[in-house]
Symmetry: C2
Amino acid sequence: MRINVNENFHKLDNNYLFCEISRRVKACKEKKPEAKIINLGIGDVTLPLGRSVIETMKKACDEQSKKDTFRGYSPDTGYDFLKNAISNYYKKYGVSVDKEEIFISDGAKSDIGNLTDLFGDNTVYITDPVYPVYLDSNIMSSCKAVFMRATEENGFLPMPRAEYKTGIYYLCSPNNPTGAVYSREKLDTWVKFALETGSLIIFDAAYEAFIKGDYPHSVYEIKGAKECAIEVCSFSKTAGFTGIRCGYTVVPEKLNCESYSLNKMWRRRQSTKFNGVSYITQRGAESAYSDEGVAEWRKNIDCYMKNATRMAEFLKKRGIEYTGAYNAPYLWVKCPEGYGSWEFFDYLLENCHVTVTPGAGFGKCGEGYFRISSFCSPADMSEAIKRLGTLL
Amino acid sequence: MRINVNENFHKLDNNYLFCEISRRVKACKEKKPEAKIINLGIGDVTLPLGRSVIETMKKACDEQSKKDTFRGYSPDTGYDFLKNAISNYYKKYGVSVDKEEIFISDGAKSDIGNLTDLFGDNTVYITDPVYPVYLDSNIMSSCKAVFMRATEENGFLPMPRAEYKTGIYYLCSPNNPTGAVYSREKLDTWVKFALETGSLIIFDAAYEAFIKGDYPHSVYEIKGAKECAIEVCSFSKTAGFTGIRCGYTVVPEKLNCESYSLNKMWRRRQSTKFNGVSYITQRGAESAYSDEGVAEWRKNIDCYMKNATRMAEFLKKRGIEYTGAYNAPYLWVKCPEGYGSWEFFDYLLENCHVTVTPGAGFGKCGEGYFRISSFCSPADMSEAIKRLGTLL
């Protein structure tokens, strides 16, 4: 063919982090078929969905089987019943979000990727290390990326700097992979900076439900954020919906750029290139916000966080530096002296059959670190701690 | 804010066709609250899902409630069990599609819109009248659109012309809104043209299940199509999945553009900006291709097509020109002399409380036509024919 393709695709890394991990794990299994490999690299939930969500979804299936209750296309931006449930959830944090500002989708990853459709040529500021989608989706749309270093020195929480200009700022709090979370004061500084420079913050709150301390769950807890921030959130990690697919994005009505309303633009984008979320899924998501639903997923999150605490205690005892584990299901751990991320990944895989996620896979500043996830079973966490104990 | 937005959004029509229809219907209802308005404008299925799909989805819900059968993230491009079912469905038409070429998604609309991510600056050729998404998604990505006129003279099936150059050609067969369908010979001419000019065909087969005559259901029934065509298809109209959300796109492995493989590019796009389809949905879609599942949706399609046939017979008796109704659930009808599309829409709404879809909403060549959909109930179709009988 002789059509013009999007040449930015050549600038993307070929080896997506998790593909490379799979490749190395597979090679290890072939070499040692008897080894029981424990996966602490997993970024996916493992506990089943709560009874109330399941029963609600089955009831929704039944509705789809009868003429009088059958529903075809959902509204492009989602059903009001779910938007109301989300709006009520926000009220817990003192945040008022109108249903016209809420857009239901099949997940945060889709929204974060698709949001680039709304923008022209901008400088995008991305923390390093970071969830790879922010960078890759911007490479695809040829935006210039500037990395904001998340290091020990700044507590893995980059802040505005004098040289930063008007642009799009991606903030993820609690952070994947570091588990660091912005305080109210720090986020307030960010919002003030965005308002002063005319910048946009894209705030990824996918892990908000894991916060234990007094930290903002939503960027809109900060005054002025409705004039400078889009918030993306998801039922995946909150309610265990990774296999069900539901997320939402808040685009405030006050978010304007000259004559353009970002709210109207996103509505137009979604009504043109998206056709709504499964009715069954939306009913399930609604019930995840019922009292019973919340109690069910809280129990799951508690289980994951117990895993995190046990691993944290082990690391502390051994004098191994880490962050996270308190407001997020991840631990961001320093490799022993002299080891690179991938080197130490190989070392752990080879010597105790435990997989982690090499920090370097999340960006240059991730070199020398690895991520431990607590989404495994308590038994696997015990066994992993035992094995690591013999080695570290 | 002072960031750069995608200014192409200003070039989009504000009033999406179906919003404008809703507005006018609402106004009519306010004026005549007692009127029972019959909707022949509906592009959505109305019959409930078959028993086997429902039972399968409920079983999948149960699997998500147990630790041993719980599934988190689906593979980004879909489960093999569904890809295999689709691959087998293609075999009925003598088409061989490998599972590496099949990409499961939440629907054809998403895929058609998102495919623009893969391309640079091209001339896109779009039939007129047409499903609005082809044009709007290309306006968003600033491609130049050339319209290919679908008129009485060419049987509503535009063919290659001497002045057409290398580009991206959107073909929809059976067509929405005209109901026209390309013959094997005509599609062969298109494929030869694409191969000669180095062009890409994006073939929308969303209505293939409605074909009764000996017409190709898939572009890949034509020799050479695997080197020049992407096919987008959906469970929406086939299996009544508009509220369940599942579609698929075939990007052949032989589809290359210099050093770029479109298959690899689409895989990268989907793995970056998409996170797979609900497990429950994918199981439902798989069962829609079982013998029992097919028999169930065939019955629904037969019901819709009986509606279409009855309306077609009525129009024929009254000497009103139309096309479609045989291989598609739509009738494309000429307005009586002197009436424009919207004018006649208003006339029908006002005088017999029947809504249709004004042809002009699908493009300039749609002016003077309107679309009748057969997705209503048999009772509504009877009543609509009765009312129209007193008027036309």
